[in-house]
């Protein structure tokens, strides 16, 4: 019963506070889940060329402190390696263009803590979690990212039933997973596929082929979003378009519930992706994808 949502502004518009749109969509779906909340907002304005941002949680006597570290590219590998040696550290994200914020509590709590409504960006994803398998802790909140490659984030509704098998095959390849949450394998799997061939659509098809169980997820990269449903379509997922007006730009929105699309006026061209067929939204080709 988790809730997921995403927004992608058209024409690479990066000045609109999309955190505000995500907040509205998440608030309208809060009834679905109340355990924890998180967003990942991308702003590829090219301003940050110097540093990678590593967000991690440090566990100490059952308490979680969120720490952010900025490191130059030449020290990235070494820093990540050192952090992975500490068993009390859970790395949440490694990013250049992404701002990933998550915590336990409701969306209003996350906003009170991080002012998510004011965050600008080209696109972003949001998640509301009701914990089904792993514990309710900040590190188990979504979105999930990975250190395999920077700027990948995933939000997920449902269950990857063969999580254990997928996890061991990824670990065999030498990838490190930090939590016991099934959603983390999606992020690592997609990142691994992107490293192999760089094709987001192919990566998602590969995941659909390998993964079992009912799921819908949204994966975000610096210039694209993919809305994916399992091959049986056992979990919901819809998208719609808001053509914008003189006060705000046009955008595509994705969510679990229709109410979320209603809440931001994305009620044009509403569709649900075919089961087992990823729907990809690229910044550059969005105008072409609108039916005329």
């Amino acid at each position: 019963m988790c809730g997921i949502c995403a927004v992608m502004m058209e024409n690479r518009n990066k000045d609109f506070p999309i955190g505000c749109l995500l907040y509205k969509m998440m608030e309208s779906q809060q009834i679905r889940a109340q355990d924890s909340t998180g967003v990942a907002i991308f702003n590829n304005n090219g301003s940050n060329k110097e540093f990678y941002r590593i967000d991690y949680f440090r566990k100490n006597n059952g308490k979680y402190n969120q720490v952010t570290k900025k490191v130059p590219p030449e020290r990235l590998d070494k820093t990540l390696y050192e952090l992975t040696l500490d068993p009390n550290i859970v790395i949440a994200s490694c990013a250049k263009e992404m701002n990933l914020l998550k915590d336990i509590g409701l969306v209003r709590d996350l906003d009170a803590k991080y002012k998510i409504r004011s965050l600008q960006g080209t696109h972003g994803i949001g998640h509301l979690r009701i914990a089904t398998s792993s514990r309710v802790t900040p590190d188990n909140a979504h979105p999930f990212s990975t250190i395999v490659m920077p700027d990948i984030a995933v939000v997920h509704n449902g269950e990857i039933t063969n999580y254990s098998k997928l996890r061991s095959s990824l670990e065999l390849q030498g990838y490190r997973l930090f939590t016991r949450c099934d959603s983390e394998v999606i992020a690592v799997f997609i990142a691994d596929q992107l490293l192999r061939h760089g094709d987001l659509e192919k990566a998602n098809y590969e995941f659909i082929k390998k993964a079992d169980g009912p799921f819908t997820y949204i994966v975000s990269t610096p210039d694209s979003l993919a809305l994916v449903r399992d091959k049986f379509g056992a979990r919901k997922g819809i998208f719609g378009y808001n053509p914008g007006n003189r006060n705000y730009p046009s955008f595509w929105a994705m969510a679990t519930d229709l109410s979320a699309l209603d809440s931001v006026g994305a009620t044009f061209y509403v569709e649900t992706p075919q089961p087992g067929k990823p729907k990809i939204f690229y910044n550059k080709i969005m105008m072409e994808s609108i039916p005329t």
Partner: protein
Amino acid sequence: MNDADKFIIRKAVLELAKTGTPRFTSIDDDVRNLPNVNSKVINLWDYVTAIGAQLSRPPYDPYRETISLDISIGRKTSRKVTLNIPLIIYGNIAIHYSSLESVHLALNQLAEKGNVLGLISAIEINSTRDNKRKYPLFKKVPSSNNDSLEQDYKKSYPEGLVLEYTDETSLKMLQNFRKEFDGPILVDVSEVFPLYIKTILEEGADGIIIDTNKVTKNEIYQGKHAIAVISDARKAINDYYKGREENDDDNAILVIAGDVNSAGKIVKAAALGANVVGYSTSMLIAHSNMYSEKPSDVSSIADNVYRHMLGTKGEIKGIPAALGYSDFHNISPSDLRTSSIDASLQGNIPLEGIDRTYKDMIEEVLNEYVSEKGIKLDSSETQQVLRSIVRE
């Protein structure tokens, strides 16, 4: 949604409304702590069913009734063999020819209905024109044979070969056969396990066969359970693939034979890492004949074997379906739960009710201790200490 699910959701919502703070346990934890679920936990399989019936799993989704059992055998070979049921009847050369003939008839009947399973046999079966073989045959090659495949083995046109690994001459045979034969070659390593797995896979074997009955009689495994053998065999294959970027479809398979002759044991073996189960021919005949009042002629045994295998197929779909899988081969050790610390250690299986293995728990305690005392241990040292504690 059943009453237990409704209860959990109601409890979670009320808790939130009352306290204003979110829960710290997950729904899985809540389900396991429900008195009506716990009271029903009598053994492993009841528990698996209980897990399968909880909120987050989708057994009530009718789509989940579709469970694929298909398995493809063959790594880089040009001729792959696909089984629709992950079973190979492991022919015992000691059984009577008429028994083998009835198995032949039954396997043909099954294959005609789209239920293809394999047969490993050293004995030639005389297919008549009316009853030509329709299932894959894995021809068992005597370990003393060091000749070419010409004449002897091409005669029956087997889809696959089975080679018994005994010593270094077996390796030479494998190398020779690999050059000449383009179908899958399976190597029975029961005599030498846990040695030579890496070498055998490097020489192009498409899978290894392990008879747990034989292996547990080896000195290394004396006193250990078949769980440990299956778990170690899977680990050995995984270790071979460690760090390699092979496509999963090219992976070598693990065939577990021996004491696996019921649906429950087949599912357990699969969860522990077996891709295919070697079902003993003599046991199959015994099972099939047990309740028969008819005299044991070839066709009546064949009919019983046919019905027995169809029944087994239905049974082995049940547990993966309850666990929310659409593919039988997705079951993993974490889907089993055990109350025995020994089994948890031997097969890396989570302990009942806590969803963590014994080793995981010890690791957590060790990490907490190390962090509390400010001791500096790198990951290999931690693993070393851990191994000495759990006596791996």
